[in-house]
């Protein structure tokens, strides 16, 4: 039971990386990027091949991100430069990447037990060698997600980050600041897809396998995590507890959590819900159905139904 909880927590953390990407496109840019369903397995495929060939496990992280960034650049190019609608631009990338992923890694690829992953790599063993593999997975995933969260929070406070938030909020304003809104959207898609591919990369490290169909439903998963997280945080921010915290100086930061924190919690909660459904006896084949059903439930309960955008 504890093992199951630890592994679900780990999953929630790893998939939070994907949700960060979805958060940037959907919540900030107002761009439902279906390309995610192709970029996630792309990051995974590249990672699986690199690991099998004996590449240093930590090196696969930046490589997967770079490849994901290229996919984002492609979606952005199709949308911004060729003027294709955002939903269709994502679908084109997703469809094209399915073949690309098959070319890279075939339909299935397993990384054997003897190959080091980030969870068994020398630097991690040096610090966390006393822990069980499951414990190490949880610890490393947590640190990784924390690092990405802090980097994103810092980025959103830069001029470039603020411009990114502005373009999803009011693109005309960005134009009137003499900035090319298309270039800003492109940048957002690049960052988003790099994060999604990073998620795919870490998943391969965790489960030691790639499958060409693993991307199906990733956007829905990311959206659900974002919407659960942000909705719950809005409820919390309006609660008496948060209002009391805001009065004090010391703990004020606890009263209005960053969007990225909400996304991590949303991701973990969502994984827990899906796991609960599976533990209750649903066969594993039904997982995507459960994912979709839970997403629908979340949309209806949060009253958003997808037409209202949540902003940072």
């Amino acid at each position: 039971m504890l093992d199951l909880l630890v592994s679900t927590l780990t999953q929630g953390l790893i998939y939070a990386l994907v949700s960060f990407g979805v958060y940037i496109t959907y919540s900030i840019l107002d761009f439902p990027d279906l390309g995610v369903d192709g970029t996630f397995p792309l990051g995974a495929a590249v990672t699986a091949v690199l690991l099998v060939r004996g590449t240093d496990p930590w090196l696969t992280l930046p490589i997967a991100m770079a490849v994901g960034a290229l996919a984002g650049l492609f979606t952005g190019f199709v949308h911004v430069k060729l003027g294709v609608r955002n939903l269709l631009a994502g679908i084109i990338t997703m469809t094209a990447l399915f073949s690309v992923n098959l070319q890279i890694a075939g339909s299935n690829l397993t990384v054997d037990r003897g190959t080091d992953t980030i969870f068994t790599s020398a630097p991690v063993m040096a610090f966390l060698g006393d822990m069980t593999l499951m414990g190490r997975k949880l610890a490393v995933s947590f640190l990784l997600v924390l690092a990405v969260k802090l980097a994103l929070d810092a980025y959103f406070k830069t001029k470039s980050g603020l411009l990114l938030r502005a373009v999803g909020d009011n693109a005309d304003l960005v134009t009137s600041l003499a900035q090319d809104r298309g270039a800003v959207k492109l940048l957002g898609l690049v960052i988003s897809n790099a994060l999604v591919a990073l998620g795919g990369c870490v998943v391969v490290h965790e489960q030691r396998s790639f499958s060409a169909t693993m991307g199906t439903g990733q956007l829905v998963y990311g959206l659900a995590a974002v919407i659960i997280g942000v909705s719950l945080m809005n409820v919390y921010a309006a609660s008496p507890a948060a209002r009391a915290l805001r009065k004090g100086k010391l703990l004020r930061f606890l009263a209005s959590p960053a969007g990225t924190t909400s996304v991590i919690l949303g991701s973990i909660l969502y994984k827990l819900c899906v796991q609960a459904a599976l533990s209750a006896g649903l066969p594993a084949n039904m997982m995507k159905l459960v994912t979709a059903a839970l997403f629908l439930l979340v949309l209806v309960l949060s009253g958003r139904k997808g037409e209202e955008i949540i902003h940072a």
Binding site: Y155, K157, T158, K159, S160, G161, L162, L163, R165, A166, D169, N170, D172, L173, V174, T175, S176, L177, A178, Q179, D180, R181, H311, A312
Partner: protein
Amino acid sequence: MLELRDVTKIYNPGAVTEQRLFQNFSLTVEEGQFVAIVGSNGSGKTSMLNIICGSIPIEGGDVLVDGTSIGKLRDYQRYAGMGRVYQNPSAGTCPNLTMLENLSLADNKGRPFGLGRAVDRRRVDFYRERLRSLGLGLEEKLDVKMGALSGGQRQAVALLMATMTPLRFLILDEHTAALDPKTADAVMVLTDRVIREKKLTAVMVTHNLRYAVEYGDRILMMNRGRVVLDRAGEEKRSTSMDDILSMFNRISMESGS
């Protein structure tokens, strides 16, 4: 100097609904001139602003600044020396960003949006002082999201943002039309002040004939893509509200609106 030269604008070219708005339309706005433009709906006022800013394509002619063509420049490139305030108060600001974040964005116009800190705390006093000059009590609301402010407050901030960094041209697209009469008057006074202080070349489209008569040093009346009245300087000053109103009624009758 801002110039439209032989501009042709056709909506839906080639379609059944094709509509030729401008045919060889020319207009020159002198440096430092404040032009007020009136006219009935569909007369081409807002289209003209969109052509100046590069928001819509044209089928012929050119847009020039100091005799140099800017017709090939993209919209965002033209905004380098240009500010614009829209009719919709939420168009000039980001509703989900705080006022401080909005002002910081505007303050950085003309410089690269890199990885430096977006909000410069040392500028807060400057923002406060500018907001205080609006006289709306906004200086205490820097951390409030723009979307939570009233239309008039947002429009005043939008005006402040559009004119915060050095600029030459100010484009005002019916920017008081969505405000209540009192707020509209206040925003109009602010607009006039900022144009005088910064010696801007301004083009203002308005449905308020009184503003067109009282403000600016040139008045244009447009009808179906043509200038039907153009008065500047002394001639403009001697133009009364009644003159404009009777002229306006005449063209409205002709165009059946």
